[in-house]
Symmetry: C2
Subunit: 245 residues, 2 copies
């Protein structure tokens, strides 16, 4: 048996999310079918993050184990051939030790959230950004984002269906950058709660529109109540950018 | 009558190109229909560049004249409402003098060509880049690009169906930049021949793969014969980025 670490890019709008679901194709199932097409083996492909339906990946990481002896490049090219024409691509394959686990070995996850902040709708990137027509005060958002940094109980920004044992997480980065008409939010932590990034971005949008001050955001965090946490930003603007080990 | 200058973004994969065609929807026709929906007037919308089928725009410019008296923002928002759900957006509208002509007043056109240079296929940007799997020598391409700068007879990089009176053009910029796994080629000139950017990029790809030297590219230019000019890069990687007046 050989274990491989895969780095993946995918267009979330084509899938019901990472995980196998009854109502459509998951990225995980697409990969498992490709593995079977390549070597005839039925395996479980474990991912570092369970991205929701519509959430994209620039650098999702997964691992799998197969009997077939093949070098990493062969595995990459074969899986890519069997994945066609689905919009998921294996960017990189590396042989790893049998104690490597895509989910449990991950030291850090990095998400990118793209907000297109301009009045005209996107013609090119409709399914790739959150289009916010009204001007956002990025400086206010960036300042407010700092209150979320560090170790907190993030219940206010946690989906009700979240299965994590604890609502406490340590947020290492929540930074904003202007990129043409877009605002790029980068969120970095060892791990995140379900919908945490989308909920934090939704709350920052309220700050950007002047509906909330930095203090309101701090109070929302302190409330430890999802009903106090503001709106959820849509899935289509979110990208799992990288996972570090 | 008021004349307006429009700045446009569109996804070329949804259109047969800028111009009205018998075989599908042109961006021009889409805009003219939107104008009629807005004010009931049948007008001609003139564009700065006649982009081909599949070629995108980040900053195409067009002009039109209507009887209806409306401020520029109203025209922009109304046209955008009538263009939905087509992937073409009016980014900006400005009132201009009656001697402004989108095509004939243009001082400079800037095109961007995106090459994705990596072995795995694109999962997210399939219709937005030219995917070149084999590694390209960008330094060799950038050096060779310099032989095309300046005033030349560009017959070797001109489509046979080109209607320009003269094959002589002045190329002011042909530069390359690395952007992650992408190579971005920027081409800047007062005007271009039909397919000129795509043909130049196709020739640069041969240089990047070592099939041609800088000298071969110079010879191709000197031949003044399209058959000597190398391949044509696909439409989907090309963007009309800006038009300057």
């Amino acid at each position: 048996m050989t274990r491989y670490r895969l780095t993946l890019e995918y267009d979330g709008s084509a899938f019901v999310g990472w995980q196998r679901q009854d109502n459509g194709l998951g990225v995980q199932a697409a990969l498992e079918t490709a593995v079977e097409g390549f070597c005839g083996e039925q395996v479980i492909v474990e991912g570092a993050g369970r991205t929701d339906s519509g959430v994209h990946a620039l650098g999702q990481v997964a691992h799998l184990e197969i009997e077939r002896d093949a070098d990493a490049e062969t595995v990459r090219d074969a899986l890519n051939a069997h994945l066609r024409p689905l919009p998921v691509t294996v960017l990189d394959v590396v042989e790893v030790d049998e104690d490597f686990h895509a989910r449990f070995s991950a030291r850090e996850r990095v998400y990118l959230y793209r907000i297109l902040n301009r009045r005209p709708a996107p013609a090119l990137d409709g399914a790739r950004v959150w289009w916010v027509a009204r001007p956002l005060d990025m400086a206010a958002m960036a300042a407010a984002a700092n209150v979320l940094l560090g170790h907190h109980d993030f219940t206010s920004f946690r989906a009700s269906e979240c299965q994590a044992a604890s609502p406490e997480k340590t947020l290492d980065e929540l930074s904003l950058a202007r990129c043409g008409d877009e605002i790029h939010v980068t969120a970095r932590a060892r791990s995140f709660l379900h919908h945490q990034v989308r909920n934090m971005v939704g709350a920052l949008q309220w700050v950007g529109h002047g509906k909330w001050s930095t203090n309101d955001l701090a109070n929302a965090l302190a409330a430890r109540d999802r009903r106090a946490g503001g709106p959820t930003a849509p899935a289509q603007g979110l990208y799992l950018k990288a996972v570090h080990y």
